[in-house]
Amino acid sequence: MSIRSSALLSLYVGFFLIFLYAPTLLLPLFAFNDSTIVAFPLSGFTTAWFAGLLDVPALHEATINSLAVALTSAVLATCLGILAARATTRYRFRLMHGMLGLIMLPMVLPEMIIAVAFLVVILHLGFSLSLFSIILGHVLLCTPFSVAILRTAFQGLDHNYEDASTDLGYSRWATFRLIIVPMVLPGVVASLLISFTISLDEFIIAFFLSGTETTLPVYIWGQLRFPQRVPNVLALGTLLLAISLGLMITAEFFRRRGLRKLGLSTQESVL
């Protein structure tokens, strides 16, 4: 490659990264800025916006709702993920690939479509919107990620371990509990963390399916109508960003540790 084209390529990559991440980096920048107007030049450093978050009861409620929704969705999606991953890696059956395709579909389906479809169905069935309806939507959204992560974990599992456990006198259920679960545990943790993060950040489904109770992203959306609250929202956004990033890194750490434990390469990533 010539020097010229390699310089061009670096320039391209540089611009690409700036477009991708600069807006996100502005978030913490203005969250610490001592002014209600979100614009340059910066006027001074303050943590007042973060402190201000503490005395908004609606925010606390939304936070608790979000955590509850994310936790429940993560657990449910991971349970479904374990079942699907186990079934599709251990057994061969008809329509397996078709079934996997359907499970993975929500990854590429526009969230808007999922949200509207859920809304119509739930209202037609005569149920009212609640946190529970948000959870349903989030489970649908998180399950493909959970299945993708757990399938890698289960694929690395040698059948011989199960056979050995059976051979040494254990039932299938005891083998699942004592051998399979511990060996795929890092994958389970990774799936829990990723599902939790996805649910915590999710807006469209939560917006369409929330009744009187809302989640954090929906709360933030509501606050953007009040210009004087924008710095508070930025502070909140900064916190969410930090939490999500931390969870993702932890998840990837567990996933890699799991693969290493099974003696597999940690080069390629599922996500």
Partner: protein, 312 residues
């Protein structure tokens, strides 16, 4: 002394879809025997072993172990234990926990477990390795853990599927000696699967040679080597030269055949089947040939030739 077979396999069949992995195998294995199933890749050895362990269900026929029919008995209820090809030592447990694993399933008392684990570790030469993680062990050591884990349960039969194939040549030879010694010490019936005929000859009391799902011959290593019953067995075990011949005279102490290019050769009775066709094939092991000076030959047991090439 009880001489009833510990394992009776009667007309056992197993197919995987269109592939017939094991067909009509009938076999008795005596208690305390070191028995080996040998054959080329894909001949159904593993399948037969897995049917003994209870991991595969036969399509037909019966398997009795220690006088009890094994039909419908799951793997975790059989008096057999297995050493897997890659050892399947659980990576998330210490060596001692691996060995104690089966004892816990059998609800052996805690105090007894500790003693038996120590004993098993000492038996395979791994005393003091209990606290180690399997990841910190070499291939040979992992194999010993797998052996200890299976033998600590005092099974009636120990099944071993290609236990040496993951080891390098030197270690393999050492482990073969140890395995044989171990089997003599514990007196447990061993059923070993291997595709390595040399290993089979070294280790076994008796060997079954398998081809394409059926058993071609069951014999002691000596008989198998000296008196293979068919050309395919002779070809598989050791090195054999095949010469086509014509039968001429059959006398009580031998059979004289006319070998193309070599003239008449007399074969002792013990080496020749009773009813020979008109055009038998004579097999001769290369180490049975001796090169003699011209003029020192014995009539009927030698042939003239010339030395073309020499390799060490």
């Amino acid at each position: 002394m009880n001489n009833d077979p510990i394992i009776r396999i009667n007309r056992v069949r197993k197919s995987f879809g269109p592939v017939c992995a094991v067909s009509e195998v009938t076999l008795d294995i005596a208690p305390g025997e070191f028995f080996t199933l040998v054959g080329p890749s894909g001949c159904g050895k593993t399948t037969l072993l897995r049917m003994l362990a209870g991991f595969e269900t036969p399509d037909g026929g019966s398997i009795r172990i220690d006088g009890t029919s094994m039909i419908g008995v799951p793997a975790n209820k059989r008096p057999t234990n297995m050493v897997f090809q890659n050892y399947a030592v659980f990576p998330h447990m210490s060596v001692a926990d691996n060995i104690a694993y089966g004892l816990r399933a059998a609800r052996v008392a805690k105090g007894e477990i500790i003693g038996r684990v120590e004993e098993a570790l000492a038996m395979v030469g791994l005393a003091g390795y209990g606290a180690r993680s399997p990841a910190a062990l070499s291939g040979g050591q992992r194999q010993r853990v797998a052996l200890a884990r299976a033998l600590v349960l005092r099974p009636k039969v120990l099944l071993l599927d290609e236990p040496m194939s993951a080891l390098d040549k030197k270690l393999r030879e050492q482990m073969q000696v140890e395995l044989r010694t171990l089997q003599r010490t514990v007196g447990v019936t061993f059923v070993l699967v291997t595709h390595d005929q040399e290993e089979a000859l070294i280790l076994s009391d008796r060997i079954a040679v398998m081809f394409e799902g059926r058993i071609a011959q069951v014999a002691t290593p000596h008989d198998l080597y000296q008196r293979p019953q068919s050309r395919e067995v002779a070809d598989f075990i050791g090195v054999m030269n095949f010469l086509s011949a014509h039968a001429t005279v059959s006398t009580p102490d031998g059979m004289t055949v006319e070998i193309e290019g070599l003239g008449q050769v007399t074969i002792p009775r013990s080496q020749a089947p009773a009813n020979l066709g008109d055009d038998p094939v004579v097999g001769i092991r290369p180490e049975m040939l001796t090169i003699l000076q011209d003029g020192t030959h014995a009539a009927g047991r030698s042939a003239r030739g010339s030395l073309v090439d020499l390799q060490y």
